[in-house]
Assembly symmetry: C2
Homo-oligomer: 189 residues x 2
DNA sequence: CCAAACATGTAACATGTTACATGATTGC
DNA sequence: GCAATCATGTAACATGTTACATGTTTGG
């Protein structure tokens, strides 16, 4: 139930509407905890019912600005200090595929890993410019957000380096068994 | 819908029952694509309806052994070569918390990062012995599985190193603003 | 004989995604 | 006036988790 805490966290930086929060999700939290519009509005409603946020102002177009309550702040702090995040949210489609790379030709396996290396590299290039951007801001979110950004950079480098290593690794595989069907990815439904 | 492909992948190593597959999930795939019993049996049913697997033998206790069909193999290969995994499954509770570390005291933030470093270290120690184990086996799953294992080792090291770096980073934060409430994590509902 | 392991399945619930539906205000 | 943006909400569906429910075989 961490969307709840994401919302409490954002609101603890100051009051905002669902619409505002949504934009923050798209910008700051997109790579860490994405959320859809439906989710945000629904959860805001639940948080209000639970007394963790309250409507602090109303604007045009039915705009409702929410502010976190003391109960909400307490919940946020509790979540933050009650350390141990439910174990890293594992489940990697990328790695799952690796397990079954023996089902395709060595060339295809090679291509797959090469592609993963490229994706890592691309991600690095995509994140790099953000570094400069956040360094010019100084709200609490950006400061700590830049730690998350650094994580993303390191993670992307890991992906790239690991994929390049793995590529070489399968090359020197004690003769490639399993060459029954050299290539059978042609037409499909 | 990758559970489907995980099952096809496992069955392509040889026929197995839901019960067998479940054990494989607990052992090999646990860190990459966990699945529950309910999920496995349900998906096997769907795969059978779709003609991607078929019951190849029946055993005692109602045991049904499934084998992948040619259609299933085609689907698996398609999935493997149709590269680009739906972007890395992001969503990290660990990083989400980092964003809001400004809400707790510097000491608590420090403790949090230190704990993350420890968890990384622990994970390294937990994975290390597996390395030896897989090197003695030689089925396709283990060979490629060891690539995934290496990824896990590198990932854990990343977590540890990053957390240690981040810990130092917040230490030298241009004076800690936000010291309204030094510590308010006491009793709770 | 009885416990452990084998073996399968269903139901209730939580979470997340996509698409639909609606309307008000602002700026040009 | 009209398009873009602001703004909120609901419904249908997919996926995943937990708990319940049941029965068989093997080995000691």
């Amino acid at each position: 139930m961490s969307l709840r805490h994401a919302l409490l966290g954002l609101l603890s930086q100051g009051p905002a509407s669902g619409y505002d929060l949504l934009k923050t999700f798209d910008v700051s939290l997109a790579n860490v905890w994405p959320a859809t519009q439906s989710q945000v509005y629904a959860e805001l409603g639940r948080l209000a019912s639970a007394g963790m946020v309250e409507v602090s102002a109303q604007g045009p177009r039915g705009r409702k600005e929410y502010a976190v309550t003391e109960a909400g702040r307490a919940e946020l702090r509790h979540w933050l200090t009650q350390t141990d995040p439910g174990p890293l949210s594992r489940r990697s489609e990328m790695l799952l595929r690796v397990f079954f790379l023996g089902e395709v030709s060595p060339e295809q396996a090679h291509d797959y890993l090469r592609r993963q290396a490229e994706l890592g590299e691309e991600r690095i290039r995509r994140l790099a410019p953000l570094r400069e951007m956040v360094s010019t801001m100084d709200d609490s979110l950006s400061i700590y957000g830049s730690l998350a950004l650094e994580w993303g950079m390191r993670f992307s480098a890991l992906q790239r380096d690991w994929a390049l290593w793995a590529e070489k690794e399968i090359e020197r595989l004690p003769e490639h068994r399993r060459c029954e069907q050299p290539n059978t990815e042609t037409e499909r439904t």
